[in-house]
Each structure stands twice: as structure tokens, then as C-alpha cells.
């Protein structure tokens, strides 16, 4: 052992000779080889597999997966059976539960990171894969998948619930387009949740902050803001990706609406920026 500390210098050459029992050799192989960019690319599927195991092995996530279609069916059924305006159809009502499902997806996105940070498993992941961007890529892909699955199950259940509520199927030609925009909305919501989780690193703080923003700040204060500002509020913009015809009202009325792709860019921009800030912080912060 050799130390070069100025206060002490100790050299003991005998320590440098490893004591190896030749009868029980250690695993061989050059494990101290240098990592290359192609190694990183090859490791992405492994990171995805790990994230999937983490996601699928928690009861809370399974509960959300069960809860989502129930919520979707219940909301659509309740709206359909209580609607006095019988112009509403199942092909419109099936996306009505999605604002609530977006919140579930956002909360799941938050928990994908914060539960790891709080329980210390993030440290294990970063020890196994010190390349931070790989962890972010795997989590972002998984958050997108969560959004798509929750959105799809909620819409399918919502459609069924609306039919059970006694409304007609309606114009089927718009269903695919509405579903596609809705899926984008939910998937981006999950990614915003992941980004916010990466920034906040605290489950309760991130979820309550996000709910406060979506339901209190945007819903209560946005009506007092001019259109030019409201367009750029994240959940107001995200909400406008949902298209359910003239019977579907956004909570905040805007005189001059932007086109749906523009709202998608604004909502997607929030997802991208929150993930970028989260990634930067993941590189800069110490991990406990």
C-alpha cells in the first residue's frame, strides 16, 4: 500500500502481492475495459428491460392499470346516462375521461423517478450504468409506453361505458384521429410527470405541486389571463389536443384558438424542457 499524503508516506511492498488461492480462481475477463459509444447503444435494451421489471413489479402500478379503465368507463357511463343533450355520442364521449387519466399518467411518470430517488434504487441503477442519459432514455420510453397503455385502456373502457350509458356510437370516421391526439396528450403528460419528478425528486411534493398547478393555478387563474398567455400554459395547451367535437368544452375559453399541432408543440415543448432540465440535474446532482 502506498500513500502520497503529505502528512504520511507509508510504503509496504509486501501488500502489493495479492494472496490468491489458485484452487478457487476468480472470474476472469477484462472487466476494466473502456466503455465505448457502441457499448452504450447496445446497453439501452438492457436498461429498458430493467425499467420494465421495476414498473411491472409494483402493486401501485398494477392498481393504476386496473383503476384507469374503471375510471374511464365510469365517467363515460355517468355522462352518457345523465346527458340531457342526446347529441352526445360514444365516439365523442370516449375521450371525456382523459383529463383525469392524464393526471394518473403524469403521477405515474413522477413516481417512476421519485420513488427510485427516495428508496435509493436510483443509486443502484446509476452504479450499474453510470451513463445518465441511458437511464433517462429508458425511463422516458417507459413513461411514453405507460401513457399509451393508460390512454388506450381508458378510451376503450370509455367507449364501452358510453354505450352502456345509452348513447349512440356516432360518427366513427373521427375516432382514429381523436384517439391518436388523445394518446399523444396522455403520453406527453406522462413525460412531463417524469421530467417534473426528476427535477423535484420528491413524490408528494411533485404530485401535489403538479395537481395544484393543473387544477388551481391553470383552472382558477387562467380565465383572467389574455389568450396570448393561456395558449402557453401547459395543461391548457395539452387539453386542447383532445377533440370531441362542438360538445366538448375546454375549461378555459379562448377567443382565438391555435391549431391542434401548435398546441401539441407547446405541450411537447414542456415535456422536452422538463426532461432536459431533469437530465441536466441528474448529471450535476449527487445521488443518494
Amino acid at each position: 500500500m502506498t500513500t502520497t499524503n503529505p502528512t504520511m508516506t507509508t510504503t509496504n511492498p509486501s501488500i502489493a502481492i495479492p494472496i490468491i488461492n489458485p484452487a478457487v480462481p476468480r472470474a476472469t475477463g477484462n472487466h476494466s475495459a473502456l466503455r465505448t459509444r457502441s457499448d452504450d447503444m447496445r446497453a439501452v435494451p438492457a436498461a429498458l428491460r430493467s425499467e420494465w421489471i421495476k414498473l411491472a413489479s409494483l402493486r401501485a402500478n398494477k392498481a393504476i392499470l386496473v383503476l384507469t379503465p374503471l375510471v374511464g368507463a365510469l365517467i363515460s357511463w355517468a355522462l352518457a346516462s345523465s346527458a340531457t343533450d342526446k347529441k352526445l355520442t360514444a365516439s365523442e364521449l370516449f375521450i371525456f375521461p382523459l383529463p383525469l387519466v392524464a393526471m394518473l399518467a403524469t403521477a405515474t411518470g413522477i413516481l417512476m423517478f421519485t420513488s427510485e430517488a427516495q428508496h435509493g434504487t436510483l443509486a443502484a441503477a446509476l452504479t450499474a450504468r453510470p451513463t445518465r442519459w441511458m437511464i433517462v432514455t429508458a425511463k422516458a420510453a417507459m413513461a411514453t409506453m405507460v401513457g399509451l397503455v393508460l390512454g388506450a385502456t381508458a378510451m376503450a373502457a370509455g367507449f364501452g361505458g358510453a354505450l352502456l350509458g345509452g348513447v349512440d356510437v356516432g360518427d366513427e370516421s373521427a375516432i382514429a384521429s381523436r384517439a391518436a391526439w388523445a394518446l399523444l396528450y396522455i403520453a406527453l403528460g406522462a413525460m412531463i410527470g417524469l421530467g417534473v419528478g426528476m427535477i423535484a425528486r420528491h413524490s408528494a411534493g411533485a404530485i401535489s405541486g403538479l395537481l395544484m398547478w393543473a387544477f388551481v393555478i391553470e383552472s382558477l387563474f387562467a380565465p383572467a389571463l389574455p389568450d396570448g398567455v393561456v395558449h402557453f400554459l401547459p395543461f391548457s395547451a395539452g387539453y386542447r389536443l383532445l377533440d370531441a367535437g362542438p360538445n366538448f368544452k375546454a375549461p378555459v375559453t379562448i377567443a382565438h384558438e391555435l391549431a391542434r399541432p401548435e398546441y401539441a408543440l407547446i405541450f411537447g415543448g414542456y415535456a422536452l424542457v422538463s426532461l432536459a432540465i431533469g437530465t441536466l440535474l441528474l448529471y450535476r446532482r449527487d445521488t443518494n
Binding site: I19, H31, S50, S57, R129
Partner: protein, 298 residues
Amino acid sequence: MINVSGLTKRYGERTAVDNLTFDVADGRVTGFVGPNGAGKSTTMRMMVGLTRPDAGEVRYDGVRYSDLQHPARLVGAVLDARCMHPGRTARNHLRAMAAMSGIPVGRVEQVLAEVGLESAVDQRAGGFSLGMRQRLALAGALLGDPQVLLLDEPSNGLDPDGIRWLRNHLSAFAERGGTVFVSSHLIGELSLFADDLVVVGAGKLLAAETVQAITTRQAVTVVAETPQPADLVRLLDAQCFTVQATGDRLVIRGTTKAAVSQLAFENGIRLVELSESAQSLEDSLLDMTSASAEFTSA
């Protein structure tokens, strides 16, 4: 071989780790010792890239941790036994870890058996005792069949049987050529199986030597009882030894029993009792770190 060089970490005004430089040799168990707040955990976190050092670096056979192709196959680390989701079973916890490192899933059952958790594979970690968590964390470190084990206080929460098992396991790992770097504040426990010691206090390196080197340097205390204490004290003072007298009983440091016996005999001083005791390794290390201990009891 692990080379830690000039490692420094500051939190505001406080320097948690101060220019730490030492090596950890292959095939040996190296104990990492220091009082609470000495910077042991911070150092170990910097060794696996979880904490960013303000200066210095750590290399494994010349390669930085973040540049390793298969970190988990070279280094197995347990830095906090609580690092597991309470809602996940032991098997799923390890499956996720194995998948992240591209380790075959069959290895999960092997390491669970190795740490004695075969009967708890499908139990959720939230119901585990601290000792079981320590074992599961160690299983995670062993997943990649690593060449290096970095363990921060691994015996916390283990029962005596578990501590013995851990001690034997780490010794066997080192005997097979593995590198073990293990921190502990239980110096007596560490002295039973560590080959080398790195001693830190207030973030600074105090010693980095073999246990044997520290043991041979340990201070010897001679206890003498004589009906002529004043005469013996005068003679010992003249020889510049440290003497503490309580009645007829003298505690002498810096000399040996033989030397005191010779001195008394040559000067006609009768001795009723003469004994010698060596300071324990624990006492030596506590002496070494006492000046830098952040938290001490009254």
C-alpha cells in the same frame, strides 16, 4: 488495484473529504475506518460516481468508474442497505438490477442462495429486517461476480452469526484474488479479518497501512507496584518516561517491563508487582481518530 488520488469533496464551507490519496490492493481486505462524519460514505460514493468530487479521481486498474465497460462486473457496491423499494420482492429487486447490467437472470437465484435468502425470494423488501436487507444488498453487489467489493458498514443490523458469515465470506472473496474495501466503525470487528486499514478523520487521511504494522507500533503500558514509588518515579522521570502515580502503583508509558525491572534492580528498589499490557488495535485507532471525531460522548 484501486487508486484513490487527491479526492476532495466540499459542501459549502465544510470539506467532507480532504485530498484523500490511498491504494486498495488486490487479494486483500482493506478496512476503511474513521469516526462518524469522517467522510467514509462520501468517499465510497465518489468511488462509484454517485457523488461528484470537487477534485481528484478514482481509478480501477487505471480506468475511471464512469468509463468502465461493465461496472457491475468489476465492482459490486453496497453503500446503503436500505436501497430497495419496499414494495418489490427480493427476486424482482435483483432481476431489475441484473437486467440493467445485462447479467443473466439465472444468477439471481444463485446469489440469493449465496447470501442465505432462498426462503425469502418472494417476500417484499418492506417486510425485511435490517439484517435481511443487508444480505439482499450484498446479493445485489455479488450479481455481476465482481472482482471488487465496496461495502459501507455491511455488518449493521446483522446478528452475530450473520457477522461471522460476512467476515468469512469477505475473507474467502479476498483469498480468491478479489479486492474488498469495507468501511466500518466497529474497529474490533474489522481487525479480525482486515489485512490493511485506511484510517480517516475529518475527511483527512490519518493512516494507510497493514494491520500488522499498526499492531507492532502499538503503545505498551507497564504497571509497577513498589513500596518506594517516589524513588522509582524520580528514576523514570530522569529517563523521560511518562509516569502516572496512584499511591504505590505506577503506570508507565514509553518503556518495557524488562527496562523497568532492570532500572529498579540496579537502584535497589523493591517491586511488588510488574506487568505489561499492549494497547488494543481499537484503542490505537481511537487514539488516532479522537482529535478529528465530530461527535463524541461525554
